[in-house]
Symmetry: C2
Subunit: 109 residues, 2 copies
Amino acid sequence: MGKQITEMLKGTLEGIVLALLATAPAYGYEITARLREQGFEDIVEGTVYALLVRIEKRGLVDVEKVPSEQGPPRKVYSLNASGRTQLDEFWTTWGFLATRIDQLKTEGR
Amino acid sequence: MGKQITEMLKGTLEGIVLALLATAPAYGYEITARLREQGFEDIVEGTVYALLVRIEKRGLVDVEKVPSEQGPPRKVYSLNASGRTQLDEFWTTWGFLATRIDQLKTEGR
DNA sequence: ACTAGTAGATAGTATTGCCAAGTACTGGGG
DNA sequence: CCCCAGTACTTGGCAATACTATCTACTAGT
């Protein structure tokens, strides 16, 4: 996949991460790994950490430091009420966009 | 809609415009109007014109100047072979992303 | 001592959409 | 005659966000 996916992820990656956190709290390294498993092969740790800092500053997640058996302590993020609201808005916006784009696709033949 | 849609459009707006041009050649003002009709109320002319300049520079469209009965001459853009290839790639990338996000949505309950 | 794996942070860059203002042309109202 | 609305395109500056590259810190195995 080229750089198209990079630009498409702007605005959606945050929602994707919020959705992941909605299923269970997680820490950065883990989130990166999950994204990779799910097909987002080229998403890089730096991107995820920066995003997590951002959503923490906006108060969408609660953070807890948990010692790790291996390596430095983990910062475990869990979605709070604000985050769930934001996630709902994400689904609304996504639905809006996806509907219109899918419509364009079917019109295109 | 908040600023979420703004970020989401990054990377998708180009594909949307290419898809519009795939149905018929069009000029900037017209494209802006069509987008507005289709629900993208807050897309601004400046954004569309800048995008058109970009895809022209990348050789995805052919341009023809056509005199208008009212106002300055129109720059009519039509998708060429390169543009159609790019559009195909857009649909592939979009399919990839949409599949994964929809999957996250259904998992989320 | 060295390497690999885990875990996080950050400075700099590029892309892209938005905002705001300006240019150019036509036709109608005061 | 001047101003305004509508059509049509241009441009300079700003903000958000993903990527690149590099760095720190800790543990375990060779």
